[in-house]
């Protein structure tokens, strides 16, 4: 399974320079997080009373914040949140959403309709706002942020899973597997999961990018975390008042990190949309038909 994913990624990289660049950017952030403690003299929490809100210089390439802390160190440190929070939320979302979608897809009937309508109702509230309201209700903590984002993304994965399973069902795939004498657990593990994996994996970069945006928005508004952290949205919030006074670096550099990180995830998502597993097709004959590398057998519109 992992080999298949790796092959998919390698294929993406070869076909799309953008996707390759995006992977390099993400790897760069990861490398910086690992290397920072040994490679950079200023810890993210160290205050330098001598240089408060200092402009970018050789000593502090991205300047310092209102407490005299090195922004470069803090931006790099903040990447930990950009990796951890979306990943944790995704794990929760897939663990919750995939079984739900599987049940709806296999069960069909009233269960399917009930779930669909419930998701539709919840979907009426703009997801960003609902996620923020959930965190506000549970209280400010990163764990709650993960839960809120995970819950809302679970809907996305449940829908994706449901569509894939339905598509397989419509192709007679499931009937054939049952007719061949597969018991339910085997049907799910051996036949359904491998065939839906590509779609689930294809959804990951887009949802990670969304989660990152929500996390930052919460940090920016001030409902994600109580204490001051190096989370990028919170850093931007703390930098805003100085931005109006002309010391823009405290807000803009974490913002640019956010943009580059989120942009990399978006580019990855676009590449998958274009070359990766297709979303459940309306035509049952083509639905989910992919070759071994997870690419669609039927060509999507060029471009």
């Amino acid at each position: 399974m992992i080999g298949r994913l790796l092959r998919m990624l390698r294929l993406l990289a070869r076909r799309r320079a953008g996707a390759a660049l995006a992977l390099v950017v993400l790897a760069g952030f990861a490398a910086a997080v690992v290397a920072r403690p040994v490679a950079w003299p200023h810890p993210p929490g160290a205050q330098d009373a001598g240089s408060v809100l200092a402009a970018p210089s050789l000593r502090h390439p991205l300047g310092t914040d209102a407490n005299g802390r090195d922004i470069l160190a803090r931006v790099v440190d903040g990447a930990r949140y950009a990796f951890a929070v979306p990943l944790a939320a995704l794990a929760l979302a897939i663990l919750l959403g995939a079984p739900l979608g599987l049940a709806a897809g296999l069960g069909g009937g009233w269960l399917d309709s009930l779930l669909r309508r419930t998701f539709q109702g919840i979907g009426l509230v703009p997801p960003l706002l609902l996620a923020m309201a959930l965190v506000a209700a549970m209280g400010p903590s990163l764990r709650h942020v993960v839960v809120a984002i995970g819950l809302l993304e679970a809907i996305v994965f449940a829908r994706a899973m449901r569509d894939e399973v339905r598509a397989l069902h419509d192709r007679g795939f499931i009937e054939a597997a049952i007719a061949a004498g597969n018991p339910l657990p085997r049907l799910v593990l051996v036949h359904l999961l491998p065939n839906t994996l590509a779609r689930i994996a294809g959804e990951v970069p887009r949802q990670a990018s969304w989660a990152l945006g929500v996390l930052a928005a919460m940090g920016f508004v001030g409902i994600a975390t109580a204490a001051d952290t190096t989370e990028w949205g919170s850093m931007i919030r703390e930098g805003v008042e100085h931005l109006y006074a002309g010391q823009w670096w405290a807000a803009i550099f974490p913002g640019l990190a956010l943009l580059v990180f989120g942009g990399a995830l978006r580019v990855l998502a676009e590449s998958i949309d274009e070359h990766g597993p297709r979303r459940a097709a309306t035509s049952p004959a083509l639905a989910g038909a992919t070759d071994r590398a997870g690419r669609p057998l039927s060509p999507r519109g060029a471009g």
């Binding site: 703009p126 508004v221 805003v240 931005l243 109006y244 823009w248 989120g262 942009g263 995830l265």
Partner: protein
Amino acid sequence: MERPVRALLRRLGVGLFLALVVVLTSFLLVKLDAAPSDVLLGGPTPAAEERAQLVEDYGLDRPAFVQFVRYTIRVLRGELGRSWLTGDPVLGEIMARIPATLELMLYSILLGTLIAVPTGVAAAFARNTAEDRTVRGASVLGEAMPPFLLALLLLLVFFRWLDIAPAPSGRISIVLSPPTAVTGSYFIDSIIMQDSIAARSALAQLVLPVVTLALMVGATLTLLVRGAMLAQMDAPHFVYARAQGMSREMLTMIALRGALPTIGAGLATQSAALLGVTALVEHVFAWGGVGQYGLEAMARADFAAVQGFILVSAAFAAIMHLVHALVRRIARIRIRRA
């Protein structure tokens, strides 16, 4: 005759169910909190008789199901409770802020569409060229752009550095008083009142927030328009239109007309969820609209206000979807009648 009635009833049933889900979501928000009664009961230190009244109203001493039923009834009556920060009814506070938000959204959707349609069309005609790639790259970047960062960048450049935009201090200059409310839009009201100074100030305050939101709308919409156009351009009738020797303008009209339902649906979906992005932009520009109100309520755990805000945002989305469904229906009838 029977089938339309059944279809209508079905749709009504679905609508009711969706509304129930929304109300339940809003209800559960408060149940998530460890001490929901404190949250509902008007803040940390409510008066004793006030507390008793609220316990009675909400049925807080009763099982959760009863509480939910009572909550639903109150919502149906339009009673969204009082904000513990101001002590005023939430519904009134939200209603007073709706015009500000609607004005911002309306202009942004218009401007965003004006940007996205020509750009998306041009990219589709230039498929896979450098021009197309540039447009797509910019759109993907726009989609990844946090709205508040874009707002801050625009403020930094146009307010702080170039000093041609006003400070992010709301809908009108702080030295002016708002015009008499007619439509609720400061700009239009100032014009009605023939107050050119107020009108100019209101317009200046609108520019940056509208541009921010319009770029956010435009980024997603451009990709949508491009995709919808390409789907049309691959259709046989488009190839045939080219074989007839049609000019670029005529071809554009033909493809755009076919792409219109897709673009409309995308615009409706986007508008329905736009309140989220709008809230962040309002927050930066101290716009004083519904979105800013909701975010502040969240930051201060003002729960009646948060619940009201969530209900209103869902209602707004529902209205957007309804409008879209209506427009589609009318368009289809027009075609069928012919």
